[in-house]
Homo-oligomer: 439 residues x 2
């Protein structure tokens, strides 16, 4: 390896691209000494050559055509940080076909085209690195690919969207509404102007799909995952959660069911026991708990987004790519992308539940709910209630919470459907899964 200088092609000079370029310049000598590899950024593709930049870049490095990077025979490795799914997909595919290892931080393109791109990467023996696509600076991808390689992954449960975690942490601390917490997050730069994908769970879902494809070596598409966001979380639920020994986190849950070799794949706000470490992950931080059959439980914690944490992940991959481009036929699929694993239908998934009904304050309401649960053979582990409001007609309403023993979701769904005909019960109860993180 010594003596040779590897040439990098960087596509994209947005926030992360700038962080990568700055860090490569600033910590160059450290990196070269540690990696035992000499390297240089040979070419940078940007959208607009004329745009003012946060960091000074020699003009002769720049081009506004990413094809130049792929077509340059001297460029060894491509770093894709242009975002979106159109050009990014075309660039990654072209680079793999040209035999140039690719490093990307683009979760959207992998969630959409990952199955195809990983398959192509394996066929061509050209690795595709994607540490920065999941969990920002947290090295979850390399840990799954390398350190934990001998483990059957039993489950991956994580907080992998910083914006929603900031909002939930803030709601818990201050008692404010989701909307108020979101506005505060936006004012502080912790949420984007359009935070839809953070709020509705889809940003976390994209990352979950990538982690699941990686851990189980199976192709997956977005229609396989059940996704609920934090839109319906109310401060009253935090009060009940606190009282019952839980907190609420937007969790990604990926679980392998050995008995039928199927995957459970879901994203939703969940009740997390306060004594579990994930309950203490606050603000914009992310954390991912991986259970392996050999290693037991491990948790990885860090900044899940942002210019520098993401740049750290990208550069970690670049160094791997530089080392591994000397290995003939090497690719980064966790295992060959051949088998199609079944995904468990949501109806079949089993957890305990927290169900909050808004009910009229009158005799017989608790009894009718309890009777319906009993009819479907669903156990109750506890119940609690609090005054809600007096409506315009002078009717008193209460929040009535049932803690439900583990059962298939389909059974609870039947109960909720039957109860919807009862006028004393609001038709839209709030349901959270309670995650048993120790099983």
């Amino acid at each position: 390896m010594k003596g040779e200088t590897l040439q990098l092609g960087l596509a994209g000079m947005g926030t992360v691209g700038t962080g990568v370029y700055e860090t490569l310049c600033r910590n160059y000598s450290l990196l070269e000494a540690r990696a035992q590899i000499s390297f240089a950024v040979k070419r940078i593709a940007v959208r607009d050559l004329a745009r003012a930049r946060e960091v000074e870049v020699p003009a002769d490095l720049l081009t506004d055509d990413w094809h130049e990077l792929v077509n340059d025979p001297e460029i060894d490795i491509i770093i894709e940080l242009i975002g979106g799914t159109t050009d990014a997909y075309a660039l990654i595919k072209a680079a793999i076909l040209a035999g140039k290892p690719v490093v990307t931080g683009n979760k959207a393109v992998l969630a959409k085209y990952g199955s195809e791109l990983f398959q192509l990467s394996a066929e061509k023996g050209t690795p595709l690195y994607f540490e920065a696509s999941c969990g920002g600076g947290i090295p979850i991808v390399q840990c799954l690919q390398n350190s934990l390689i001998c483990n059957k992954v039993e489950s991956i449960v994580g907080i992998i969207n910083g914006t929603s975690n900031y909002i939930l942490s803030s709601m818990r601390e201050t008692g404010e509404t989701m909307r108020d917490a979101l506005e505060k997050a936006q004012a502080l730069g912790f949420a984007e102007a359009d935070p839809s994908f953070d709020i509705n769970g889809w940003d976390a879902a994209h990352k979950a799909l990538i982690l699941a494809m990686l851990a189980y070596g199976t192709p997956l598409s977005a229609d396989k995952i059940s996704v609920y966001g934090i839109e319906r979380v109310e401060s009253v639920d935090f009060r009940f959660a606190e009282q019952l020994g839980y907190t609420i986190k937007l969790l990604v849950v990926i679980k392998h069911h050995e008995e039928n070799d199927s995957l459970e794949l879901r994203v939703q706000p969940s009740f997390v026991p306060k004594q579990h470490l994930l309950a203490s992950v606050d603000g914009v931080f992310n954390a991912i708990a991986v259970k392996g059959d050999v290693v037991g439980e491990t948790i990885f914690y860090g900044r899940g987004a942002g210019k520098n944490p993401t740049a750290s992940a990208v550069i970690g991959d670049v160094v791997l790519a530089m080392r591994e481009c000397h290995l003939p036929g090497y690719h980064t699929g966790f295992q060959p992308y051949t088998k199609q694993m079944d995904v468990l239908p949501m109806a079949e998934t089993v957890t305990p539940y927290y169900v909050r009904f808004r009910v009229q304050d009158k005799h017989g309401v608790i009894a009718s709910i309890a009777a319906m649960l009993a009819k479907y053979d669903i156990g109750i582990s506890g119940t609690t209630s609090t005054m809600c409001e007096v409506d315009a007609n002078g009717v008193r309403w209460n929040h009535l919470v049932f803690m439900i023993h583990a059962c298939k979701w389909v059974r609870l769904k039947y109960v909720l459907r039957e109860l919807a005909t009862n006028d004393a019960i609001d038709r839209h109860p709030v349901v959270f899964r309670i995650e048993d993180l120790n099983s």
Copy 2:
């Protein structure tokens, strides 16, 4: 890489060796598919051929002479799990000289001979892998070597001894004494018959030396690190800690001081703020917080010891070794082992402190301590006290706690020395550092 079968030589069939062999057999097809490498255990060196084994091993694999592994030209990689520092040192050295990459889980041999062995590894271009030597199943070594490679490491703070953490957790929960908690841990198999190195901090110190050598690429020896164990932690300190918003953990602290390029290296029971994640790491679990200039704070959590978690780490290294044995001249030193970094004298280290004096219950005692602190220009952030005991002479003694603002240890030491002449104050106050984990 395809087509070739790599041959492994396993030295040692104790707890971890057995775990490695079992896991290699049980998860073989998974590993082969993920690693894209075919491999076999060709030879196993054990101390006593006749001994009954927990796991069945073909007799023709066994030898009682580890030299056979090193001398066998067909063996590609050596796994050293024989423990101790004599044979292990000789084996690792011989393997490196023979150009065979080595995987070890032996912290004692690396803490003692690491500087020499890493230097030799770099000179010969023969990698030495050691994930399992620090933090059991937690992939801290690979994370520092690969994922976080572009980071200047600002600090590493961790709980890396499971036995002492189990004891401290137990003391906090039950109020029992250190001795009682230790006996319980021994009964449950969480502490060895001779737990000296766990209790006196030296097991953690060995791991700290390895992590520091890795992160800073500097040779270090055991005389460079300040080590205090948990022997003097009393349940009254847990009560004060709780009241003041802290808990007590045996912490490894490795900190880089940019201004004079020196290292702070210490192991001691410390006050950890309750809201920091490390405060919630209980029982035999380990956790290591790494701060990098690019990635910010990351934390790695998992089982720090035990047959299977350690086997997971060993096998992660074996796969790396199998891949990387195709890279000419590759070695695993984090950066060339050339510079000798200074270690900050303990007298110069700066933290806030918790100091508990045992004092006679009489007028003027608080004033005399406060005056002495003022004389040395040391600030007090708070003070609290509680009844201690009435001694055989009928004298009432109190526990008197001072919370001290950050200052150089040498200044506080002078104060304690001067106060030792005061008969109303017990000569051996209990001092804990308060770790400011957010700076």
